[in-house]
């Protein structure tokens, strides 16, 4: 093909081909994915830079201007865009600050339970034997154990605090990962590449980390994404029962729980954090669905 003899058709074709390649490189459903990612970006940025973004100090009280409506309501003021709570604190700032707590909970609970559960699942599936039965019985104990009641016991013992919430959630959320990973490892362990690695003298650790782990990552990531809503809702439920984060912590779950008494006359007090929780949980679930479709269409049964 000579340099000067490029047919026009080809030139155009090349152009279109390039364009097709460009869009083809984008995953299916990319417009929606962009929306999800933007929303998650907002959530993460709000969480990290909460102190810079928040228009007011979220703990600043003003008893005179308490229970103000959002700006579009009659009693609203532009000073407080989403109104104020029972102590005159700015709802928008608290919502932003609350994203920090949610982010912290998600960023600790999900990796925590994921690592714990994946490690247990890998070991159980690969080594089988005593550890396997032990781990699986533990999973069963975990599932048979009323998590909420256990959380109440802990709160009664140590008092409510965010740290306790995180520990409790990790303790109760590792089990699904362990189950999932173990099941996958069981089907992988007889596959050729694993058998080959073993016959070539790879250590257990090497097999697990180099050969098994990469093959379970997809499903684990999907489960983790779907867990975002579980974590946020669990935190809210614990707050409802008085076993959530301590009084110094601002969290969405606590905002919903605290505002519920005035649901009738001041809907937005629970409405905004409630809707925010829903959006984040929704995006988490949608993203999880999308990831599942994208990474591994066979894994439809991951809850």
């Amino acid at each position: 093909m000579s340099a000067q003899g490029v047919p026009v058709d080809d030139a155009f074709g090349g152009l279109f081909a390039r364009q097709r390649r460009w869009t083809r490189r984008l995953p299916r459903g990319w417009p929606l994915l962009t929306v999800y990612l933007v929303l998650i970006g907002i959530f993460v940025i709000a969480g990290i830079f909460a102190d810079l973004i928040a228009p007011h100090d979220p703990t600043d009280q003003n008893l005179i201007s308490r229970l103000q409506g959002p700006v579009w309501q009659e009693d609203g003021e532009s000073e407080h865009f989403l109104g104020t709570d029972g102590l005159g604190r700015d709802s928008l700032s608290r919502l932003i600050k609350g994203s920090q707590t949610s982010l912290l909970v998600i960023a600790t609970v999900i990796p925590g339970s994921l690592i714990l559960g994946t490690a247990a699942g890998l070991l159980a599936g690969w080594r089988r034997g005593a550890f396997d039965s032990f781990a699986m019985r533990l999973v069963e104990v975990q599932l048979a154990f009323p998590a909420l009641l256990f959380a109440l016991l802990i709160a009664a013992m140590l008092g409510p605090s965010l740290r306790n919430v995180i520990v409790i959630l990790i303790v109760f959320l590792w089990a699904p990962y362990a189950r999932l990973v173990r099941a996958e490892v069981l089907s992988l362990r007889e596959r050729e590449f694993v058998v080959a690695a073993r016959t070539l003298g790879a250590t257990d650790l090497r097999v697990m980390v180099q050969h098994l782990l990469p093959n379970v990552v997809n499903s684990v990531v999907i489960l983790a994404t779907l867990n975002v809503s579980t974590v946020i809702i669990a935190e809210a439920s614990l707050s409802f029962l008085g076993a959530g984060a301590g009084p110094e912590t601002i969290s969405w779950g606590k905002m919903v729980a605290e505002g519920r008494d005035l649901l009738k006359i001041r809907f937005w007090l629970t409405g905004f954090p409630g809707i925010t929780i829903m959006i984040v949980a929704l995006v988490g679930n949608l993203l999880g669905d999308w990831l599942r479709d994208y990474l591994d269409p066979q894994l439809r049964n991951i809850q």
């Binding site: 008893l63 409510p160 008085g242 519920r260």
Partner: protein, 612 residues
């Protein structure tokens, strides 16, 4: 509920009486209504007169002995304000009797129930005052100030300073129809003081109130002599307290404590029918109740034919049940919800001044700062304590978060009992700049770190006002960790004196007797929430208290007590807050005029349902 030391402490006159309003829906022509009202007033005035005469006679009889003197002192004070109070009540008594529906029943929603229905048991703490105390009536009835008056199950007479003679009245019966005998009174006192033969280990909630009792013996089948181990002006009053139980000996010996806790038989104006611990407590009017509606004191024969207490833990659900017409009365509703409902005109709001002066007790007994081992406890420095008082804007809290009807409390005495007239001029007030200055002067310019403990969910809006207080303290330089605790943990820690941080506590809002004050103030008292006074003033407080106990000149005694109250207030061993006012919302057909100055709860015998 937490029971402050002086259960009888219903004597503070400083409280504004608040009616339930809402007479507008009266269908009757106004003239008739007014005429009825006048009649009503006349009747009441007559009753009041009679009652006063009775009281005077009593006093005359008791003049000789020292104790009577003490009681006379109390009654003198009360008579002065009794007329006032009665007048206040009459103002509100705008409900025409003709309109009352005597066959009506009502359903009230509560946030908590007692664990058992035995009013005498300490295990019933929590929810008791809000639920079934209407099943019980004490040995003696009460005047609006909480003092015993004649006409109850029995009459009483002091014999010297040593003993109290209780003589049974005719025709008084328990709910099961059996007569109330002197033996039952003896059994009741024995049971509550751990002397009853059937179970000496009974876990009584009333030992403090009955600490004055010594041996008691039946003189004859109608008469009981109670020795006073510690002579007390409260002897008769403590047998008249609201909710004080009277137990049927034969019945309890038959069914046992556990059986009684499930099915109480008592003497109150409402009769227990059945309950389900998580759902309801059903009762009917005790038509055999010995004091009719024309009786001048409390309690009386109820207007309602029946009452059902229903347990609805969630505030929002409680209000919803009221709005849906499923219940007629929603108890303990935050003012933010209650006030708009009242303003809508479809509901009556009952403001019920509870007998609790809230304060934050500061830890002064420990020497070391828990946050800085080796350093002295900053709370032992009076300047730090004053700074804490100056930091909290109590009026802003009551005005904005609470009902606005709460009074600032000088807690040890906010009423007429030894209250220094000029104390309000010395009120700490709100002055954050001065607070900061004092902290700096005390050497805490960098702040004082402290926990702040409260029993979560016990009072209306407690989380809100505690967060507000914490923030106000932070404003002036305290570093506050607010800690909500549950009831068992809190009570246990209080008992063991393990509460080493400032904590929210309700003190009976004003004492009516030296005896009850002594429990809290005396340096020898073992009471877990004892008033702490440091240094030289401690000896002075003990001296004043001892002097007051033996001072029979009323004015001089008042002076001694005033000095004591003043020392306590200026010592600033507490952060003084406010006297709690509970808010309940009722259907417009229900009317309630508080009889007591500080009613223990909505007085059900006094709850009227209008014909619709």
């Amino acid at each position: 509920m937490l029971r402050a030391s002086a259960r009888a402490g219903v004597g503070a006159a400083g409280l504004a009486l608040v009616g339930c309003g809402g007479d507008d829906d009266d269908d009757q022509p106004q003239a008739v209504a007014q005429a009825d009202q006048q009649q009503d007033q006349q009747q009441q005035a007559m009753q009041q007169q009679q009652a006063m005469q009775q009281q005077e006679q009593q006093q005359a009889m008791q003049q000789q002995d020292e104790q009577a003197e003490q009681q006379a002192m109390q009654q003198e004070q009360q008579e002065q304000s009794a007329a006032e109070a009665q007048a206040q009540q009459q103002e509100q008594q705008a409900v025409a009797d003709d309109n009352i529906d005597y066959s009506a029943t009502a359903i009230g929603a509560y946030g908590a129930f007692p664990q058992i229905l035995d009013q005498g048991s300490a295990l019933a703490r929590g929810g008791q005052s809000a639920s079934n105390n209407y099943h019980y009536a004490a040995v003696f009835p009460l005047d609006p100030f909480g003092s015993a008056v004649p006409g109850g199950l029995a009459e009483w007479e002091f014999v010297g300073a040593e003993s109290l003679i209780v003589t049974m009245n005719e025709g008084r019966t328990f709910h099961d129809g059996s007569p109330v005998t002197a033996e039952d009174v003896k059994f009741t006192i024995d049971r509550l003081t751990g002397k009853a033969e059937y179970n000496p280990e009974y876990n009584s909630a009333w030992t403090g109130e009955l600490s004055w009792t010594g041996d008691n013996e039946l003189v004859d089948e109608n008469t009981l002599r109670i020795e006073q181990a510690a002579p007390s002006v409260d002897a008769a009053n403590s047998l008249a307290l609201g909710g004080f139980p009277m137990f049927p000996k034969a019945y309890i010996e038959e069914v046992g404590d556990d059986g009684y806790g499930q099915f109480p038989v008592a003497t109150g104006s409402f009769k227990f029918v059945e309950w389900s611990a998580d759902e309801y407590i059903k009762s009917v009017r005790n038509d055999d109740y010995y004091n009719g509606r024309d009786y001048g004191y409390a309690p009386r024969l109820p207007y309602l034919a029946g009452y059902e207490a229903r347990l609805i833990p969630e505030i929002g659900a409680r209000v919803s049940a009221l709005e849906a017409g499923e219940v007629d009365l929603a108890n303990s509703i935050p003012p933010d919800l209650a006030v708009p409902l009242g303003e809508s005109g479809d509901y009556n709001v009952f403001y019920h001044p509870a007998q609790r002066g809230l304060h934050i007790k500061l830890p002064m007994t420990i020497e070391e700062d828990p946050y800085n081992p080796g350093q002295p406890n900053p709370w032992r420095d009076r300047r730090v304590r004053i700074a804490a008082n100056l930091a909290v804007d109590v009026d802003a809290i009551t005005e904005n978060i609470m009902t606005g009807r709460e009074n600032y409390t000088y807690t040890l005495s906010s009423g007429q009992f030894g209250f220094p007239e000029d104390l309000p001029e010395q009120r700490w007030g709100y002055d954050p700049d001065e607070a900061r200055r004092l902290l700096a002067e005390a050497g805490y310019a960098d702040g004082v770190e402290t926990d702040l403990i409260y029993l979560a969910g016990l009072y209306t809006n407690d989380q809100l006002f505690m967060e507000a207080i914490a923030e106000m303290l932070r404003e002036v330089g305290f570093i506050v960790n607010l800690i909500p605790e549950d009831i068992s943990k809190f009570l246990g820690e209080a008992r063991n004196k393990e509460l080493t941080a400032p904590y929210l506590f309700p003190q009976s809002a004003g004492f009516t007797s030296i005896g009850s004050m002594a429990i809290s103030v005396d340096s020898a008292a073992t009471y877990e929430h004892r008033v702490e006074v440091l240094s030289d003033e401690r000896a002075e407080v003990d001296r004043l208290l001892a002097a007051a106990k033996t001072e029979f000149d009323t004015d001089k005694r008042q002076q001694l007590l005033s000095d004591l109250v003043r020392i306590h207030y200026l010592e600033a061993s507490w952060i003084f807050l406010f006297e709690l006012v509970q808010t309940h919302v009722a259907a417009s057909r229900l009317h309630w005029d508080p009889y007591f100055l500080q009613p223990p709860s909505v007085e059900l015998w006094n709850l009227k349902s209008m014909k619709t």
